[in-house]
């Protein structure tokens, strides 16, 4: 009998740096196939091809023994493939029960086709109690937290008809009881004879839900084995592959006085107890999986999220930022993770994008001194090799790497002393990475301090003096440059 799904040497070039190469695998009906690999190894990209999000350059996808060639996600959905993504897209204006049954509303009754709100809620309530899900079916979805939304999405998949379900990191940020509920859902879906792909970063989940596990590394399959043979060391070995570790230009600097001390920091349920300190001339690396709290930590330090406990001290002074402006006044800069959305003003020119955080430097007799602004931004443009590099160019016409360098220049110009960089090199070209690494050297050699938040472990090992690993809102280890290794970091992060 042919397997439910078979991938035969799929290849697809996504960009000059990233391609899926010659991927083949099989998924049987009633089987859970776990996919693991570091960020950017191609797990989600591969599943996107299965779900009709783009076509492979070469190779075949066979569903139930027949070649399929989906042109879009709705097409694959019609064939019974559900791709549950990481971002829980739900209808905020509807309640929980309506969201759960949304795709089935029309099928619940033949006639008359009307929605019975109470009936719907009751059916949902009994389903939730069977699954042990402590959510009120009548509650509006907008009142739910991230992990609860993920669970609602999983239940939505649970009640739908399907042949193949893809879960993409369904337990990101979940507590143990929440994970248990999700595992129950996955197992029940599998027991109906549905094939399940399960993308995960948490290695313990391989043994809990999986039948088979495949490991991806830089767009290639490095191993595929039954879960009972999958011990942790072996998987980590397959995940790390051969890597480039010598190419990170870090200038050794001397550590100065302590500039930042964080004690017992808490923020809602995301950060539970975070303590660390940062010194002048230091690059401190922070890593962790999605949902580990690293971005929240950055936001708390920058005043864009409010901590619910603990203390932040800057140069010995206790701070309680209510707004990023207060953090900026104390010399803190944040280069956010989502450049496009949170950092770049697409329809402003380079000069304005750079000067926006340092306007007080350009105070003239009447308004801003445009000439000085032009002069100074030109200096930064050549200092960071921003190209094409005219102060009047519109930001939207620049490449990602050059946009990111403009954002870096913005914070250099504001003369901050503590630079928090959240994934500063993600998705940018190698030349821009080189410039940003060297700009970091420039900062620390002049006595500033840098917090580098990244998922790229080679980058952290190459650039940082110390690396902290966050997992579920806590710092689980603090490794000095000499002690840190890729295996140790992955081991701690996926605990």
């Amino acid at each position: 009998m042919s397997p439910l799904l078979e991938l035969r040497s799929l290849c697809k070039q996504f960009s000059t740096d990233f391609a899926l190469e010659n991927l083949s695998l099989e998924l049987g009906a009633g089987e859970v196939h776990v996919l693991v690999g570091q960020n950017g190894s191609g797990k989600s990209a591969l599943m996107g091809l299965v779900a009709g999000q783009g076509k492979p350059d070469s190779g075949q996808i066979l569903l139930g023994g027949e070649t399929v060639n989906f042109g879009s996600v709705p097409e694959s959905r019609k064939a019974g493939i559900i791709f549950q993504r990481q971002d829980p897209l739900l209808y905020d204006n509807l309640n929980v029960a309506e969201n759960v049954y949304f795709h089935r509303l029309s099928k619940r009754r033949r006639w008359p086709r009307i929605v019975e709100p109470y009936e719907l809620r009751e059916e949902c309530a009994s389903l939730f109690s069977r699954l042990g899900l402590p959510i009120d079916p009548g509650a509006p979805v907008s009142s739910l937290g991230y992990t609860q939304r993920l669970l609602i999405l999983a239940v939505q998949t649970y009640v739908a008809d399907s042949r193949l379900v893809i879960f993409d990191e369904p337990t990101a940020g979940m507590t143990d009881p929440e994970r248990e509920i999700l595992f129950t859902i996955v197992r029940e879906i599998r027991d109906r004879g549905v094939g399940v792909f399960y993308i995960s970063h948490k290695l313990d989940e391989i043994g809990i839900v999986g039948d088979k596990v495949s490991v991806l590394h830089q767009g290639r399959m490095t191993g595929s084995l039954p879960c009972r043979d999958a011990d942790r060391e072996r998987i980590i070995g397959l995940m790390t592959g051969k890597s480039f570790t010598e190419r990170y230009p870090r200038l050794a600097t001397t550590k100065g006085s302590r500039v930042l001390a964080v004690e017992g920091l808490q923020s809602d349920t995301v950060l539970k107890d975070v303590s660390f300190s940062l010194h002048k001339g230091e690059i401190l690396g922070i890593t962790g999986l999605m949902g580990s709290g690293r971005t929240r930590l950055a936001n708390c330090l920058f005043g864009s999220s409010k901590p619910t406990g603990g203390s932040i001290r800057i140069e010995g002074r206790q701070e309680n930022f209510g707004h990023p402006a207060e953090a900026m006044a104390r010399g803190i800069a944040l280069i956010p993770e989502d450049r496009e959305h949170d950092a770049v003003f697409h329809f402003q020119d380079i000069m304005q994008n750079m000067a926006i955080a340092a306007l007080s430097r350009f105070r003239g007799i009447s308004g801003l001194d445009a000439r000085y602004m032009h002069e100074l931004s030109s200096e930064y443009i050549s200092g960071l090799a921003i190209r094409p590099g005219k102060p009047g160019d519109l930001m939207q016409n620049y490449s990602g790497g050059n946009q990111q360098k403009v954002v870096v220049a913005r914070w250099l110009m504001s003369l901050c002393r503590i630079f928090i960089m959240d994934e500063p090199t993600r998705g940018i070209d190698a030349a821009a990475r080189i410039d940003i690494y060297n700009a970091m050297n420039d900062l620390v050699s002049k006595g500033a301090a840098v917090i580098l938040i990244s998922s790229d472990i080679d980058e952290l090992l190459g650039m940082c003096d110390r690396i902290l690993v966050l997992a579920r809102g806590r710092i689980v280890c603090d490794l000095a440059q000499g002690q840190a290794s890729k295996e140790r970091i992955i081991d701690y992060a996926s605990a």
Partner: protein
């Protein structure tokens, strides 16, 4: 490639071989034959060589006369670039290090900056570098023996190479004269190439210094691929393809970013 540099290469080639032909020189330097002919004409006017059909030979006593060059805008820029590179190199030197500087303009700029460090032992074949270091009270200079080359005011030859082998240094700062599209390092004379090769074998860490303006040039004598060194220092203005190329070779590329104005050294 700057005319000045081309002319230097032609000079050193002629000094070594006594004659040259236009076609092969134009291929090696990757410039047109017309350009080579123009250079030869200039050198003939200086009395350095005699042009012949399809080539030139060294004029009698031609290489004895020193020549003067005007400082052009390009030269000024190159001098600023050298200072920037020397600054980054300085940040890599710790008090008490034993280092070697091979001859060149960046090495001289670095030697001046080394006054900020103490307890250094500096090996060099560059005479001005040795004099500079010797004048610094807490640093020690060791000048490698050999035959002086008046043009580069440095010592070369088999004696220099043999002396280098007697030492072991923490860090070798080797100044290269060109880095090609294929990321091959080149220098302008055979002796220099031989010396750097020897020096590389006697160093813990190898650091290549090269101005941005010298990328995509061939300085004629091949030293080897860039993967032979662990670090390269150049200017920020170096073309992007070299940045990504060197990154892909798993070699550390340091650029002289000097953008941050906040505070001095602390």
């Amino acid at each position: 490639m700057f005319a000045v540099e081309r002319i230097n290469i032609i000079r050193s080639y002629l000094r070594e071989h006594g004659k040259l032909d236009v076609h092969s020189i134009s291929e090696m330097l990757n410039v047109s034959e017309v350009t080579v002919r123009r250079d030869l004409e200039k050198l003939e006017n200086e009395g350095f060589l005699e042009r012949q059909h399809g080539g030139a030979i060294l004029a009698e006593g031609g290489d004895e006369e020193p020549r003067r060059l005007e400082i052009s805008e390009e030269e000024r820029r190159a001098s600023a670039d050298r200072e920037e590179i020397a600054h980054v190199a300085l940040l890599m030197v710790r008090d008490g290090d034993v280092i070697m500087l091979t001859n060149g303009g960046i090495a001289r700029a670095l030697a001046r900056k080394l006054a900020e460090r103490t307890g250094l032992t500096v090996l060099t074949n560059d005479i001005p570098v040795a004099l500079e270091i010797a004048a610094q009270p807490t640093n020690k200079a060791v000048l490698l023996g050999g035959s002086p080359d008046p043009e580069s005011t440095a010592l070369f030859g088999s004696l220099t190479e043999a002396t280098v082998q007697k030492f072991f240094v923490n860090k070798l700062f080797m100044e290269v004269d060109g880095i090609s599209e294929q990321l091959q390092m080149t220098v302008t004379s055979q002796e220099k190439a031989a010396l750097i090769r020897e020096a590389m074998a006697c160093a813990d860490e190898r650091i290549a210094l090269c101005e941005a303006g010298r990328f995509s040039r061939n300085a004629f004598f091949r030293l080897g691929p860039i993967s032979q060194v662990g670090k390269v220092i150049t200017n920020t203005s170096v073309p992007e393809r070299y940045k990504s190329g060197i990154f892909a070779m798993d070699v550390k590329l340091f650029t002289s970013v000097n953008a941050f104005e906040g505070g001095g050294n602390e």
